[in-house]
Symmetry: C2
Subunit: 210 residues, 2 copies
């Protein structure tokens, strides 16, 4: 299957499968059944088989999938072995928490590939200080810094009112994807992607079941 | 359709439709087509029609759905008009950012129904202080406070190593649903729900497209 034809929902599930394969207690030599993998990923077994069949036959009837090969294959499909420098915009409480979270993950997992190479804020008291050893730049330096460091991913943790203008400038500086924590909808040109993390939507969904 | 038979994916989309209907520039008297609603919710129009048809006929051929009635109907289906007191566990940078975010949303939207009624941390320097006017209690008071305030939703922002024990105790005190920010899998008994917010999974997914 051609890489850019993989449906978004399948990409989402592949990410979950990979996470499960990396963080559960599987050994390299183990086999995992579609039912087992489905249980851990909260997906039904038939769906797991269907998803993985898209990329060729690497399961064995009655035995399951070899954990190591499956992990390597999904990593390859997702391109999950490339280093991914990123930038965090807005170093308030949320931005700081995100930087610390990523730094902590990176410390505990040598294969963790995300790394904030540049932080931005507009508060003069923060500029020049650092979080986890990464310097906070003024927003006015965005164009120069992003191009120099070839940043492709931006995490938006500025207030909603500032988000669109930050995104516009980051796009002009070569950023191709955003994870948006600001509670606002963002407009981006074709070829640029925005994923939304909205605590309110998560709470609404959770509340439905209660 | 019986409320507890609605598939999870449909619940997720209904939450998105409602959010779009509440936060786009629709007037009460407007009509919205399935194509329009789909565009705003990043779902195709046929899927929108299929989802909404599950709850009876409230669209008109060639005119669309009346915005006000649709909003009220989805609110009713989701139970999104009930007040939802919640509790935040772990008032570090992330927990503080979450409390401030919810407080801000509540200030700007009189219908916002989530509200942190109790915060918990184990750091003696934080206990007794408050964030957005909400007092931080010691984890040791959890059982008393949660039962007294009838808290049903918990937001987990403690370190991964502490998450399971906090969840176990909160479940024993009547909490029915968790939004988990700790990078760890949580075990809960049947009838209790956990939703995961994992920045790493979001970044993996986003990176695929870049």
């Amino acid at each position: 299957m051609i890489r850019n034809r993989i449906p978004d929902v399948v990409v989402k599930r592949l990410v979950t499968y990979l996470s499960v394969l990396l963080h559960s207690d599987f050994e390299d030599g183990d086999f995992v059944s579609s039912a087992q993998l489905g249980d851990l990923a909260a997906v039904n077994g038939a769906q797991v088989r269907k998803d993985l069949a898209l990329f060729g036959e690497f399961g064995k009837q009655g035995v399951g999938y070899p954990v190591k090969a499956l992990r390597e294959q999904i990593t390859k499909i997702l391109g999950a072995d490339r280093e991914m420098p990123l930038s965090v915009f807005g170093i308030g409480e949320l931005g700081t928490a995100i930087v610390r979270y990523i730094a902590g993950r990176r410390r505990s997992d040598p294969n963790y590939r995300f790394w904030p190479v540049a932080l931005f804020d507009e508060d003069p008291r923060k500029i020049g200080t650092s979080v986890e050893g990464i310097v906070i730049h003024p927003l006015s330096d965005m164009e120069t810094v992003l191009k120099e460091l070839d940043v492709k991913i931006g995490i938006i943790a500025v207030p909603a009112s500032a988000a669109q203008s930050v995104v516009d400038r980051a796009v002009a500086s070569g950023v191709k994807g955003f994870l948006n924590f600001a509670p606002t909808k963002l407009k981006v040109p074709p070829g640029v992607r925005v994923h939304y993390t909205d605590v309110t939507l998560e709470l609404q969904e959770l509340a439905f079941y209660i």
